[in-house]
Symmetry: C2
Subunit: 224 residues, 2 copies
DNA sequence: GCATATATTTAAATTAGTTTAAAAATAAAG
DNA sequence: CTTTATTTTTAAACTAATTTAAATATATGC
């Protein structure tokens, strides 16, 4: 990686921008960044201008922000670190999956490269974090997986839960209550046209109705 | 603990002041803090005045700084976190003991209390870190140990190395080269009046001469 | 195509922490 | 006890990041 030193704040901006651009065909608006960072639009404008002058991203007035290759490289390393720490917190320390993000948020700033390399080995080079999100390798490459949201499944389809899109505590705790975790088997018993909700069988044991919002927030890998 | 939020910088100051006061009968001078923090005396004066107004320490113009009970409590927690992370880095990740401090420096700022509690359990509630320094428990209590510096031993005295006072990379690497680590057995073969150096037998295998400075930087527990 | 609403940027002020240089206090030495 | 050296504090200025309010673009409705 480059020998550019980022402030904690710049790191947080990069990660936020990366996440937004991922869902937004490559571009992030000032307001989206501001609400994601819990700050004002004015602060964002100021910061992205400074970051653009440091060549961390591309910025055009009133047109939003795009990460360039440098910004992507940094953001990817941040995501890598954060997700490795999430695996550590969950698998080694036994922390519940609804509390991982807050703790990993701080840990992602640890920038001793040797720590991260050794952590990865210690964890057995995991490819996915406890929420099912892919962990980029040291070169920044993600392991891709064909997945779809539960929303796209049809009646009688069977699948395995591979990731959660929404990672709010409340959603994760709700999934716990339903007995759903990464790896759970599910089957669509019924599609309810009325509100696009679905009746789902979980692990061949419990049946439950999921709203369309919930279905969208669960990523699955279709089986048969 | 209190619901006071400290900045990263305030945390660093507290830890530095704690370490200085430990060796300095309870008080830390502006200059000592400045050199320990690699900053200017003016910055220190400014900072300790602000910290004093936040009741984190006692400050009297031209008289230096003393930690009060609040400051001690915070500093102790920081030291607890830092030393637990050092154990993790060394025992779990296999990091060499001359590289622990830099990495733990960053990790000590992690302030998710649950992470620290679980980390402690994961590590088996160690009482000492890889440099032999005591790890305070959650209540801030240190496990004391009777130890002395190798400097104070006399001819024929036998002892076990329990801690290193100087934790610079170069000193730790030097100890590695001598085959000395925490737990090593040593015996004083000869006291050299001339310069207060000593000839030492290490683990009943190798003999080597240590300067008085080296002897002062090694803490031991006397055996017989 | 204009009026309005929304999004974004600029400007000015604020805070935490820093620096350098000058001023003041303390300590040391004759 | 006075001079000098050292330490510490104050003052003024600077940087990164923020806020609020005002100004300016862009987008939308009719």
């Amino acid at each position: 990686m480059q020998d550019i030193q980022l402030s904690l704040t710049e790191e947080d901006y990069l990660k936020a921008i990366f996440n937004i651009t991922e869902k937004n065909r490559g571009t992030a608006s000032t307001n989206d960044i501001a609400s994601s960072m819990q700050t004002s639009a004015a602060a964002v404008t100021d910061m992205v201008q400074r970051m653009a002058s440091r060549k961390l991203l591309d910025y055009e007035k009133y047109k939003g922000v795009k990460l360039n290759s440098v910004g992507i490289a940094f953001a990817t390393q941040l995501i890598r670190k954060e997700r490795l720490w999430k695996v550590f917190l969950h698998q080694k320390l036994g922390m519940d999956w609804d509390k991982l993000n807050d703790a990993a948020e701080q840990l992602k700033h640890i920038n001793t490269i040797e720590v991260i390399r050794k952590l990865e080995l210690f964890l057995g080079s995991p490819k996915y974090d406890p929420h099912g999100e892919p962990i980029p390798n040291a070169d920044g490459r993600f392991t891709l997986r064909n997945q779809t949201s539960l929303f796209n499944l049809r009646k009688t389809d069977r699948a395995k839960v591979v990731a959660v899109r929404n990672q709010s505590s409340s959603f994760l705790q709700f999934l716990d209550d339903c007995g759903i975790s990464i790896g759970s088997q599910i089957e669509v018993l019924q599609e309810i046209d009325f509100d696009l909700s679905k009746r789902i069988m979980i692990n061949d044991q419990t049946s439950i109705v999921f709203s369309s919002k919930i279905c969208q927030d669960l990523y699955v890998k279709q089986l048969n």
